[in-house]
């Protein structure tokens, strides 16, 4: 049966902790996780409807004798008469031997639930201890048992169940025992996989450092791990068992003719199918609805357990045109790209409100200039860059009064118009080269794609050009490496491929989004040198996104410092480094020698960038700023010209902040 077999699928799917809700976040968080679980489950109306229906079925099963004046085998006096619905007082009519269909339907819910419970109980009683045991002991015990498990699951579940029924004899109890035995293999496999995952985590946590994990520790770690997928799987297996009961009884090897199971009713209905299909309809719908209810309830549980949000479409969003603000600066004469009033808006997860993660950003990049966009994680740098290409991930919405690239206005362009800019006029390098390359295709093919699409090169022309490009970015032996797959490249080499791809169509602007962060420290320097050389050679403008002021010092001409969605300071490299005007900039500069703290706190600035929905209306930095006064807490702060640069700080004039030179002098 298609249905019993799909139990296997669900195992596979839910064996993946990402979908089945893996480990909870430790013991301290489990209370929180639990309440979030219930909140998510309550919000899921479909799952709730399933649960309500199941409660209804259970109620009918318990109350069956009181809901009807007949018993389950009750037949009319006319044993060969088949009453239609409504006829002779039989609401749903009778079957071909004159038995009341409604009565049998009520009693059928008993068989369905009992059969499901039997199969699932057998599966759990055998599967959980077996899975825990082999997962714990591993070695040869595990190998032998798994060999057996694989043998059993190699045969379709229902075929194996039938072979077991052949040995045990037919009948509903034996049939469900057989189904349960087959399902126990699924539970064994699932439990074992979770135990392995738990062991792995223990290992990572260093909980084993003191020695081998005790059984007590294993249990404490295993149970929270194994429970969510097991609960989900049990619900789904229950649905499969209800289907299996119906199917086996339909074949005549489950319920006997005196047992009013839904499957048996379907079998009886088939006998009179030359007269009418009707007796097959009510039990079929009963099976169908019950299975749907278990499935959607199980899916709801799975969604409630899993921590990751789902959804999202192909990540492209055009930039929406907005009116320019009253005092928006005009485009600078020599600029290649000039961005005005750029904002990016995202809905807050789990609420109806939304929030601007980028707020009113303006900047210009001159031809051949390198602008560094600097700030901690979460300050909105990458989103700013992506919105220039219309690539803000769904459901974000970028808006701007103007983004003009070499005289062309990008705001308001349709996807396909913007497509001629992407990859051709603007090239981009991402942070994680191994993730940014498609694992399924050779690097040659991926680098050649923009050449083919934008420049219309033939396959062989493109190949020739790709070989040249790979050579230019310093990949040894490019004729051979062109046919290699991304997984055959080191991180540094893969990033060189990305650079070759970004530069392939001679773009006017190159965006480098944390190009060295994911790389080995030893190749970071080489990569920066390469970027600097290539940019200078080609006279391409660069927007360099980084949290690392060391990188900025190496490459940038000008610097824009971003904090919590806003540019807080902007000026030339020399100005900003020597005389920072914003306390945040000072903090970044002070942190230079220990800039490894990207994911943690900056050593000199307590705290981290707050999430966008916590950004205040006044100075975004005030809460972390050691110089903050009452003036900082009143209304939005404008980006104003200060001594040497543009600064978004009310105290810009009065503070004497430490720049790079001061620090150097301090050191000497």
């Amino acid at each position: 049966m298609t249905d019993a077999g799909s139990g296997d699928i669900d195992t596979v799917i839910s064996a993946d902790p990402a979908t089945a809700g893996g480990p909870d976040g430790g013991e301290t968080q489990s209370g929180k996780t639990k309440s979030r679980f219930w909140a998510r489950l309550r919000k899921n109306k479909v799952a709730l409807a399933g649960a309500i229906y199941l409660v209804f079925v259970v109620a009918v099963a318990i109350l069956a004798p009181y809901l009807t004046s007949h018993d389950e085998t009750f037949a009319t006096r006319f044993q060969d008469i088949l009453f239609s619905p409504g006829e002779a007082g039989y609401v749903l009519g009778t079957d071909h031997v004159g038995r009341d269909i409604l009565t049998r339907l009520f009693f059928g819910s008993r068989y369905a639930l009992m059969a499901g419970a039997e199969a699932v109980a057998v599966a759990l009683i055998i599967g959980i201890p077996l899975g825990l045991t082999i997962g714990y002991f591993r070695g040869w015990v595990d190998r032998i048992v798994m060999r057996f498990v694989e043998t059993v699951v190699a045969v379709p579940a229902v075929v194996m169940a039938m072979a077991i029924i052949a040995a045990l004899g037919t009948g509903l109890t034996n049939a469900m025992l057989a189904i349960g035995l087959v399902y126990s293999m699924i539970i064994t496999r699932l439990t074992r996989a979770e135990v392995f995952a738990a062991r792995e985590e223990l290992y990572v946590d260093g909980a084993r450092a003191a020695g081998a994990p005790s059984i007590r520790v294993m249990w404490r770690h295993i149970l929270p791990n194994v429970a969510p997928p097991l609960i989900v799987q049990t619900t789904l297996l229950f649905a499969q068992a209800v289907l299996a009961e119906a199917a086996l009884s339909f074949l005549g090897i489950g319920a006997t003719s005196s047992q009013a199971s839904w499957g048996r009713m379907l079998r009886d209905a088939e006998l009179s199918i030359d007269r009418t299909i009707w007796p097959a309809i009510p039990p079929g719908i009963a099976v169908f609805l019950t299975v749907v209810a278990f499935n959607i309830f199980g899916d709801g549980l799975r969604d409630a357990f899993s921590r990751e949000a789902r959804g999202g479409r192909v990540g492209v969003g055009d930039v929406v045109k907005t009116e320019s603000g009253p005092d928006t600066a005009p485009r600078q004469a020599d600029s290649l790209i000039s961005v005005r009033d750029l904002s990016v808006n995202f809905p807050i997860p789990g609420s109806d409100e939304d929030v601007n993660v980028v707020q009113g950003v303006n900047f210009d990049i001159a031809k051949g200039e390198v602008l560094a966009l600097v700030g901690e994680s979460g300050s909105g740098k990458s989103i700013t860059a992506l919105s220039l290409m219309g690539l803000v991930p769904d459901p974000g919405i970028a808006s701007s009064s103007s983004i003009s690239l070499d005289g062309r206005e990008l705001v308001g362009m349709e996807f396909d118009e913007l497509r001629t800019i992407r990859g051709k006029d603007i090239g981009i390098i991402f942070q994680e080269p191994s993730a940014a390359l498609n694992p399924a295709y050779t690097v040659g093919r991926q680098v050649a794609e923009p050449l083919r699409v934008h420049l219309g090169m033939s396959k062989s022309e493109a190949r020739q050009r790709v070989i040249e490009l790979l050579g230019e970015v310093g990949i040894p032996d490019p004729e051979k490496r062109i046919d290699a797959f991304p997984h055959q490249f080191s991180g540094g080499m893969a990033q060189r491929v990305m650079i070759a791809m970004a530069l392939s169509c001679e773009p006017k602007l190159l965006i480098a989004d944390e190009p060295t962060t994911a790389l080995d420290v030893t190749v970071q320097g080489q990569m920066l040198d390469l970027l600097g050389e290539l940019a200078a050679e080609r006279d391409v403008s660069v927007m360099l996104i980084t949290h690392d002021l060391g990188v900025v010092a190496d490459l940038a001409d000008r610097v824009a410092v971003m904090y919590a969605g806003e540019i807080v300071e902007q000026g030339t490299l020399a100005e900003v480094f020597a005389e920072p005007q914003h306390p945040y900039t000072e903090g970044l500069i002070t942190a230079i020698p220990r800039n490894e703290s990207r994911f943690g706190e900056l050593p000199t600035i307590p705290g981290v960038v707050p999430p966008p929905w916590d950004w205040p209306n006044h100075c975004h930095f005030a809460e972390r700023c050691e110089y903050a006064t009452d003036a900082c807490l009143h209304g939005p702060i404008e980006l104003m010209p200060s001594a040497s640069s543009l600064t978004r700080c009310v105290r810009a004039g009065e503070l004497d902040l430490a720049g790079v030179r001061d620090r150097a002098e301090e050191g000497s």
Binding site: M1, T2, D3, A4, G5, S6, I9, V12, T19, E150, T151, A154, V155, P156, A157, V159, M162, A163, A166, A167, L168, G169, T170, A246, A247, F250, L251, I253, L266, I273, A280, G284, F288, N295, R310, G311, R313, V314, G315, M389, L391, F415, R419, I421, R422, G423, F430, A435, A436, L437, N438, P439, A440, Y441, E449, P450, V453, H454, F485, H487
Partner: protein, 314 residues
């Protein structure tokens, strides 16, 4: 690639052996004497003893097992205890029927399932997605034999558009075959289509959020190309895995659909052999089923290697 193929085939042999062994000894647990079943209720004790000798089941279990294994290794699966036919001959007649039904359903399920699954993924959260998700979760819950009964009744008996049961004379022309297969394949393929649609949707949604999709878009490729080249191939991997499981489920499901449509296939043969304790037939049935699953799994491995260069042998 050839080496992979051969090594997988060789690795499958012990599995087949284990399956057959498991079923052989499982069948011995039944206390009823098969010889008595063959001869019927009125048989004399002498006749039963004679039958036991004729079937070879009077010999020690180990000898019986050894004989079966050594014969099976040479391709001889013994004779049907009830009609004396060669099991291999009987299976050969029935394999094409069931396999055309099962592979037909799988093919339809793959086409229907991936099409709607991808459509749902591209419209995630909007109404086409909601409808496809709803329909597919209902599709998973429909008992195939029940929908088979309904299809046979309305389209077969009432409207007479398609044969309600398998023709008594074996269909000869391809048209007759296809005509006879439509209803059984539909009944069988619904839940497989639904399962594949769900998997395609979720794996497509997952892939569309990967960095390399952003890279492809940043290169200025048209969305159509990004989806069909960059996303589809990676999204296909979990779908292929599921198709393997579905294959096994379809073989199991074919038993019930064959029952409804009176199809003279493997499923009917298997059920009959179980009910009548026809051990050689049962073992033959289980072997063919397991072999099919094994072959499908080998095909899956090959397609993994094609889809995912990381698992390709160097």
């Amino acid at each position: 690639m050839l080496r992979l193929l051969v090594s997988r085939m060789v690795a499958a042999i012990p599995l087949m052996f284990f399956v057959a062994t498991l079923v052989f000894f499982l069948a011995q647990l039944n206390p009823v004497d098969p010889a008595a079943t063959v001869l019927g209720e009125d048989a004399s004790l002498e006749a039963i003893a004679e039958k036991r000798a004729q079937l070879g089941i009077d010999r020690p279990l180990v000898v019986q097992y050894w004989n079966w294994v050594t014969d099976a290794a040479t391709g001889d699966l013994g004779v049907n205890w009830f009609n004396g036919e060669e099991v291999t001959t009987e299976l050969r007649d029935r394999i094409p029927v069931t396999m055309s039904m099962v592979f037909g359903s799988l093919l339809v399920a793959l086409v229907v399932g991936t099409t709607f699954g991808i459509l749902a993924a591209l419209k995630a959260g909007r109404w086409p997605d909601r409808i496809i998700t709803l329909v597919s979760s209902l599709g998973l819950a429909i008992p195939n034999f029940w929908i088979g009964l309904i299809l046979a009744y309305y389209l077969g008996v009432r409207l007479q558009w398609l044969p309600a049961i398998w023709p008594t004379l074996r269909p000869t022309t391809p048209f007759e075959w296809i005509e006879a297969l439509i209803l059984p394949c539909t009944a069988l393929g619904i839940s497989a289509s639904a399962a594949i649609a769900r998997q395609s949707r979720s794996s497509m949604i997952g892939v569309l959020q990967r960095d390399y999709i952003r890279t492809a878009l940043a290169k200025g490729l048209p969305v159509r190309r990004v989806v069909s080249r960059h996303a589809m191939r990676n999204a296909a991997i979990p779908v292929v895995t599921l198709a393997g499981f579905q294959m096994s489920a379809l073989i199991g499901g074919s038993i019930f659909v064959e029952f409804v449509f009176n199809v003279p296939g493997l499923g009917a043969y298997g059920v009959d052999s179980i009910l009548r304790q026809n051990l050689p037939a049962l073992l033959g049935f289980v072997l063919v089923t397991a072999l099919t699953v094994v072959i499908v799994n080998i095909l899956l491995d090959l397609s993994y290697a094609w889809l995912n260069p990381k698992v390709r042998p160097e």
